[in-house]
C-alpha cells in the first residue's frame, strides 16, 4: 500500500487555502512539455545527478550494475544512457550528487509527516496531494485522503483531470477542494503538447462539480500557446457551467523545470518565449474578469 513520493514539502502557501503540507506522488497521466516537476512524470523511480557536487569518491562506481557510473581520467563520469534504474546507487552518495527522485512511503509515514505541521494549519490549512497525478491510483489515494480527514485535517488534491472518473463519488467524501488544471481548451493543441484528452478532462470536472466538490481552475499561461482570447472565452464558459467553482488562478509559465530535466539527464524542453510578460498576464486576467470569472494572481484575488 506504499506510495512513491518525490517530496513532502512543508509550508506551502500556493497549494490551497492557508499553509499546507504538499505531498508529491510520482507518476502522471500526462506528458506536458512545460512540466516543472518532470521527475514526477514516470511512475518508476530514478535519480538526480548533480555533477557539481561529485567528489569522485568512487562509491557509486562500486555499486553500479550497468557500468553507467565509471571512472574516466581519474574522475567519476555518468553514462546515463546505460543506466537501468536498478537503484543500487540511489541512497548512498555522501556528497549528495546522486539523490533518489522518490522514495517508498507507507501511508502511516506520510501521515506522521503531515501531522507535524498541525500547529500551523489553523482553520484553513492542511494537506495537498500533488505530483505527478495523485489520482493516478484512485483507490489508494482515496483511502489515504479518508485517513487524513479522520484526523480532522483539510484535504486538497491537485489534478490534471486525466483520471478514472468513477472514483468521484468516493472522492467527494474525502476531498475538500480540487485544484483542477485546465492546461488548454483547444483539444488538438492540448493533445500535442500534453497527451491529454480534453473531453475526458472536462467530463471529470463536470462530474466533480455535480458531486458537489469545490474546485479551483488552475490555468497555466504560456505565451504563444494558450495566451489568447479563445482560451479565455472557453474558460469563462466552463466556469459559468460550474456550481462549485470558487475562482480561476493564473500560473505564468516558468522554465525552472529544465534545471531538473538536466539533472535527470533529459534534454531541455522549455522555451523562454513561453514566459508571459506581466502585462500579458494582467490582460488575460482582465479578459476572465470581464467575463465574470473571479481571478487570482500572485497570491491575491484580483
Amino acid at each position: 500500500m506504499s506510495f512513491l513520493i518525490t517530496e513532502v514539502q512543508r509550508f506551502c502557501m500556493h497549494d490551497g487555502d492557508g499553509v499546507r503540507t504538499t505531498v508529491f506522488v510520482k507518476g502522471c497521466s500526462l506528458r506536458c512539455l512545460w512540466c516543472h516537476n518532470p521527475e514526477a512524470i514516470s511512475a518508476n523511480n530514478d535519480f538526480f545527478y548533480d555533477e557539481a557536487k561529485c567528489i569522485s569518491c568512487g562509491w557509486c562506481i562500486d555499486q553500479c550494475t550497468a557500468n553507467a557510473h565509471r571512472t574516466e581520467n581519474d574522475i567519476h563520469v555518468l553514462h546515463r544512457e546505460l543506466c537501468i534504474r536498478c537503484g543500487a546507487c540511489f541512497h548512498g552518495c555522501v556528497a549528495g550528487a546522486i539523490t533518489p527522485v522518490a522514495r517508498e512511503m507507507e501511508p502511516e509515514e506520510i501521515m506522521k509527516a503531515v501531522k507535524a505541521d498541525i500547529p500551523f494549519y489553523g482553520e484553513t490549512g492542511g494537506v495537498t496531494l500533488s505530483g505527478g497525478e495523485p489520482l493516478f491510483d484512485t483507490e489508494k489515494t482515496v483511502s489515504f485522503l479518508t485517513a487524513i480527514k479522520k484526523e480532522g485535517i483539510s484535504t486538497c488534491v491537485e489534478t490534471c483531470g486525466m483520471f478514472d472518473g468513477r472514483i468521484i463519488p468516493k472522492l467527494q467524501r474525502c476531498c475538500d477542494l480540487l485544484f483542477y488544471d485546465i492546461k488548454d481548451t483547444d483539444p488538438v493543441r492540448l493533445f500535442q503538447n500534453t497527451g491529454g484528452d480534453l473531453t475526458k478532462i472536462l467530463a471529470n470536472l463536470q462530474r466533480a462539480d455535480e458531486a458537489g466538490i469545490p474546485t479551483v481552475l488552475r490555468l497555466i499561461v504560456l505565451n504563444g500557446i494558450n495566451n489568447n482570447k479563445a482560451h479565455a472565452a472557453r474558460i469563462a464558459e466552463i466556469y459559468k457551467d460550474l456550481k462549485h467553482c470558487r475562482y480561476a488562478e493564473l500560473l505564468p509559465y516558468h522554465p525552472y523545470g529544465d534545471a531538473k530535466r538536466d539533472r535527470l539527464g533529459l534534454t531541455p524542453q522549455g522555451k523562454q518565449d513561453w514566459i508571459p510578460s506581466k502585462e500579458a498576464i494582467l490582460c488575460f486576467a482582465e479578459m476572465l474578469k470581464k467575463a465574470q470569472v473571479p481571478v487570482k494572481i500572485e497570491g491575491s484575488m484580483l
Binding site: 492557508g18 555522501v94 505541521d117 497570491g299
Partner: protein
C-alpha cells in the same frame, strides 16, 4: 538622493502627507546624521580644577555643560529636541577633557519613561526631596546629583522654548502657526504630566532626546501602553484625528533617525542604537493592551522603511486577528523591523526565577531581545562560545591540550555537562555580583525605579532589579557535534574517537568522504527530527540547569540566555573543525537558529525543532530567526502564511521570533551595487541595519543564512 521607501515585495501604502514622507527620506538619506558630525563634544577643560573633582561631581558637571551648550536643532516642526552631539552616537557622554571622553554611557536598558510621563519631572523632584530628608551624607551627594541632572534637563528645555519663540517671531504666517503649536506642546512637558496626546508624544520624545544627547542609548519601551489613553481621549473629544496622530507618530520615528550616517560603524551597521519599542501584550492586571497607537506605529513602519526602532509585539491568547494581520503586513516588506514574543512564556520565565507576577507582566526589552522590567532594571550580559568550550575542553581539538578519549557517549556527554557547570561556577564566583560601578549614571537613575528609594546609582545596585545574564552561543553547533560523534563513533562505529579527533585537528584534510557523510547523511537540529532535537534539548537543559544552581541573591539575578549577537563572525576563527563537517573558518549558528546549511525542511520545521525546548527556562532570553523568500509571502496567501507561522510559534511555546523577508540573491546584488540599495535593511541579530553599511564579513554572514520558502 533617496526618493522612495525600499520594499522587498508588494507596494507600501501611502497614508502620510507628502511633507512627512519627504522628511523621512531625508533622514534615511543620512542628511541629519551627517549634519552633526561637525558638532564637537563639550570641553570640560573650561571648568577650573575639573580633573581633581570627585567622579560624581565631574559627571554632573558634564551633564550641565551638555545641557547648556549642545547645539539646538529643529528638524521636525511637530517634535522639538535633538541629540545633536556626534560623540553621543558612539556610546560616550559627549564631554571631553584634553580630547578624551570623560565618561562612557549606559545602554541595554529601557528607561521608566512611563513613570515620568505620569508624574512629570516635577513628581520625580518631589520624590528625591522627600528621600533627602532621611539620607546619609553620601546618599545626599548622589540625590543632589540627580536633582542637578533634572535641572540641567530643564535648562535644555528652556533653551528650546526660547529658540522656538524666536523662530515664531521671525516666521511667516504658515510657519508661525506651526511653531506656536510646537511651543504650546513643549511648554509644560516633561516637567508636568501631559494633557493631550501631542503633549504626551512630545514629552516622551524630549525625555528620550535629552538622555540620548548625554550619550545613553535606552530603549523606549511599551509605547502604546504609554500613549494609548491620551490618544483615545483626544479622539473622543474630537481634538485630533487618526491621520493627525499618525503624522505625529511618524515624526517621532523620523526624529529617531537623526543619527543615521549611512556609513560603516563597528560592523554591526549604522544607527543601531537600541531604540526598542514593545507593543501590545497584557498590563500588570493581565488585560490586553491594544489601541490606536499600536495600529498607528505598525502603519507608520509599514509605510516608511524605517528599521531603526526595532519593534517587538507581545503575543498572548487574546491577540486579535487584526493585530496578527498588521504584523504580517509589515513583515512582508522586509527590513526585519517587527519581531514577536510569546508573552506567556516570557512572564512565566521571570516568575520562575522570583519575579512577582505583576512585575513580570510589565516586561519590555533592552538592546536586543533580553526581557527586563522597564524602568527598574540594570541589565548586563556576558558572552561565551559554548562550541569553543566543547571543542577545547571536552574534545581537545583546539588549543594547547591533547585530544581526549571517552569509552562511551554518556561519558563524553558527562564531561560536557561538567565543563558547562564548571564554567558557570567560575563565572558566578569571579564576576562582581555586586555592582560593576564603572561610571556614574545619575541621569539614568532619574528614570530607574529603586535608585531614589535606595539613594544609590544605576550601577551601584540602586535599581529594583539587577540581571546578569550569561549569554551562551553555539548551541546548535554543540548539539550537532554530539549527534555526529554519537553516530559516527559510538553507534555506527565507523571510526574511533581518537581517529575522528585527529581528523578534526587536521581540519578534515584528506577525509572528504567522511566529511560529506557527516554533512549530508545525518539529520541535524532544525528539521523537526526527534533524534536531533532531543539532543538539542538535552544540551539546552544542561545549560539551564547549570545556571539554575545559582538562584537570586537579594535583587541580583543570574540568568541563562542563548545568543551570538554577530560574534559567530569572530568565533569562526577559533572553533576549529567540527564533527558535523564544518571547517575552521566556517560561520556557524546564529543565536538559536540552526547551523547554516543544516536546516532543510522549511520554516515550520525550524520552529518546531526550537520549540521542543521548555522556553520558560530561558529567563535571559533567546531568539529564533527565520528568513523567508519574498516569493513565499506574495499576496494575500503570503500574509496568511506569515500569520500561520506566528500562530504556530505561539501554539508551540516559542520565546522570541524574528522573521525577515529577503532573497539572498538580492543581497548579493546589494554587495555589488550598494548605491542602489541604500535603504535596504536586514535583520541582523536583535536589530536591523542598512545592509550596505555592514562590513563585508557581516554581509557575507547574512547572505549565508538560509532563506526558507519557495
Amino acid at each position: 538622493m533617496l526618493t522612495e521607501f525600499y520594499t522587498v515585495t508588494g507596494n507600501r501604502p501611502v497614508r502620510l502627507s507628502e511633507d512627512t514622507r519627504r522628511l523621512a527620506l531625508r533622514a534615511l538619506d543620512a542628511e541629519f546624521g551627517l549634519d552633526i558630525k561637525a558638532n564637537l563634544p563639550v570641553n570640560m577643560e573650561e571648568i577650573q580644577g575639573f580633573k581633581q573633582l570627585p567622579r560624581l561631581e565631574q559627571y554632573t558637571l558634564c551633564i550641565e555643560q551638555i545641557a547648556s551648550q549642545a547645539p539646538l536643532r529643529i528638524l521636525s516642526k511637530k517634535l522639538a529636541g535633538s541629540a545633536s552631539l556626534d560623540l553621543a552616537s558612539f556610546h560616550f557622554l559627549p564631554a571631553t577633557y584634553h580630547g578624551e571622553p570623560v565618561f562612557s554611557s549606559l545602554s541595554h536598558l529601557t528607561c521608566g519613561f512611563d513613570r515620568i510621563l505620569k508624574t512629570g519631572y516635577r513628581g520625580v523632584r518631589m520624590q528625591i526631596k522627600e528621600r533627602l530628608k532621611t539620607a546619609t551624607e553620601e546618599e545626599k551627594l548622589f540625590l543632589h546629583s540627580m536633582l542637578r541632572c533634572l535641572d540641567a534637563a530643564g535648562v535644555f528645555h528652556q533653551r528650546y522654548l526660547d529658540n522656538i519663540k524666536g523662530l515664531m517671531e521671525t516666521a511667516d504666517e504658515k510657519n508661525r502657526g506651526e511653531y506656536e503649536e510646537l511651543y504650546h506642546n513643549l511648554k509644560n512637558v516633561p516637567e508636568h504630566p501631559p494633557k493631550s496626546f501631542r503633549e504626551a508624544v512630545q514629552s516622551l520624545w524630549f525625555q528620550f532626546a535629552f538622555v540620548r544627547l548625554c550619550g545613553n542609548w535606552p530603549g523606549i519601551g511599551r509605547i502604546d501602553s504609554m500613549l494609548g489613553e491620551y490618544l483615545k481621549n483626544d479622539l473622543k473629544q474630537g481634538v485630533i484625528t487618526l491621520d493627525e496622530a499618525r503624522e505625529t507618530i511618524a515624526h517621532f520615528f523620523i526624529m529617531g533617525c537623526e543619527w543615521i550616517k549611512g556609513e560603516f560603524c563597528w560592523g554591526s551597521g549604522d544607527a543601531q542604537h537600541y531604540q526598542n519599542l514593545v507593543l501590545s501584550g497584557c498590563d500588570s492586571d493581565g488585560n490586553l493592551i491594544y489601541n490606536e497607537v499600536t495600529d498607528l506605529v505598525l502603519e507608520v513602519v509599514e509605510e516608511m522603511s524605517i528599521s531603526d526602532f526595532p519593534i517587538s509585539v507581545r503575543l498572548n491568547k487574546d491577540t486579535p486577528d487584526r493585530l496578527y494581520r498588521k504584523i504580517a503586513d509589515v513583515m512582508k516588506h522586509g527590513c526585519g523591523v517587527v519581531a514577536v514574543y510569546h508573552e506567556d512564556i516570557c512572564i512565566r520565565a521571570l516568575e520562575k526565577i522570583g519575579y512577582p507576577l505583576c512585575d513580570a507582566r510589565k516586561f519590555a526589552n533592552d538592546g536586543c531581545w533580553e526581557i527586563q522590567v522597564p524602568g527598574e532594571t540594570n541589565f548586563s550580559y556576558h558572552s561565551v562560545n559554548f562550541l569553543g568550550l566543547f571543542q577545547e575542553q571536552v574534545l581537545g581539538v583546539v588549543g594547547e591540550g591533547t585530544s581526549k578519549d571517552y569509552d562511551s557517549f554518556e561519558e563524553l556527554y558527562e564531561a560536557y555537562e561538567m565543563a558547562v557547570q564548571s564554567w558557570t561556577a567560575n563565572y558566578v564566583t569571579n564576576t562582581n555580583l555586586d555592582q560593576d560601578y564603572h561610571t556614574p549614571g545619575s541621569l539614568m537613575a532619574v528614570f530607574t525605579a529603586g535608585c531614589i528609594e535606595n539613594a544609590r546609582d544605576y550601577l551601584d545596585n540602586g535599581p529594583h532589579y539587577v540581571m546578569k545574564s550569561i549569554h551562551a552561543g553555539g548551541f546548535p553547533d554543540v548539539s550537532n557535534s554530539l549527534l555526529a560523534i554519537k553516530e559516527l563513533v559510538y553507534d555506527k562505529k565507523m571510526l574511533t574517537l581518537a581517529e575522528l579527533l585527529t581528523i578534526l585537528r587536521n581540519n578534515w584534510e584528506g577525509n572528504e568522504y567522511l566529511r560529506q557523510y557527516a554533512l549530508n547523511k545525518i539529520t541535524y537540529f532544525g528539521n523537526d527530527d526527534d533524534k536531533a532535537d532531543t539532543m538539542f534539548r538535552r544540551v539546552y537543559d544542561s545549560f539551564c540547569h547549570a545556571v539554575s544552581l545559582y538562584p537570586k541573591k537579594g535583587n541580583v539575578f543570574v540568568t541563562p540566555g542563548i545568543s551570538t549577537f554577530g560574534r559567530e563572525i569572530e568565533w569562526r576563527y577559533t572553533h576549529g573543525a567540527t564533527a558535523f563537517g564544518a571547517r575552521q573558518g566556517d560561520i556557524l549558528a546564529s543565536n538559536l537558529a540552526p547551523t547554516p546549511g543544516t536546516d532543510k525542511a522549511g520554516a515550520t520545521a525550524v520552529i518546531k525543532s526550537a520549540c521542543k525546548c521548555d522556553m520558560t527556562k530561558m529567563s535571559g532570553s533567546t531568539a529564533l530567526h527565520i528568513r523567508l523568500l519574498p516569493s513565499s509571502v506574495r499576496g494575500e496567501d503570503g500574509t496568511q502564511a506569515i500569520i500561520s507561522l506566528l500562530r504556530g510559534f505561539y501554539q508551540l511555546g516559542g520565546f522570541f521570533l524574528q522573521l525577515d523577508v529577503i532573497d539572498g540573491s538580492e543581497l548579493q546584488k546589494a554587495q555589488e551595487n550598494p548605491e542602489a540599495y541604500r535603504n535596504l535593511s536586514v535583520r541582523v541579530s536583535g536589530w536591523s541595519a542598512r545592509f550596505i553599511t555592514l562590513t563585508k564579513p557581516w554581509q557575507d554572514m547574512i547572505i549565508a543564512r538560509n532563506s526558507q520558502g519557495l
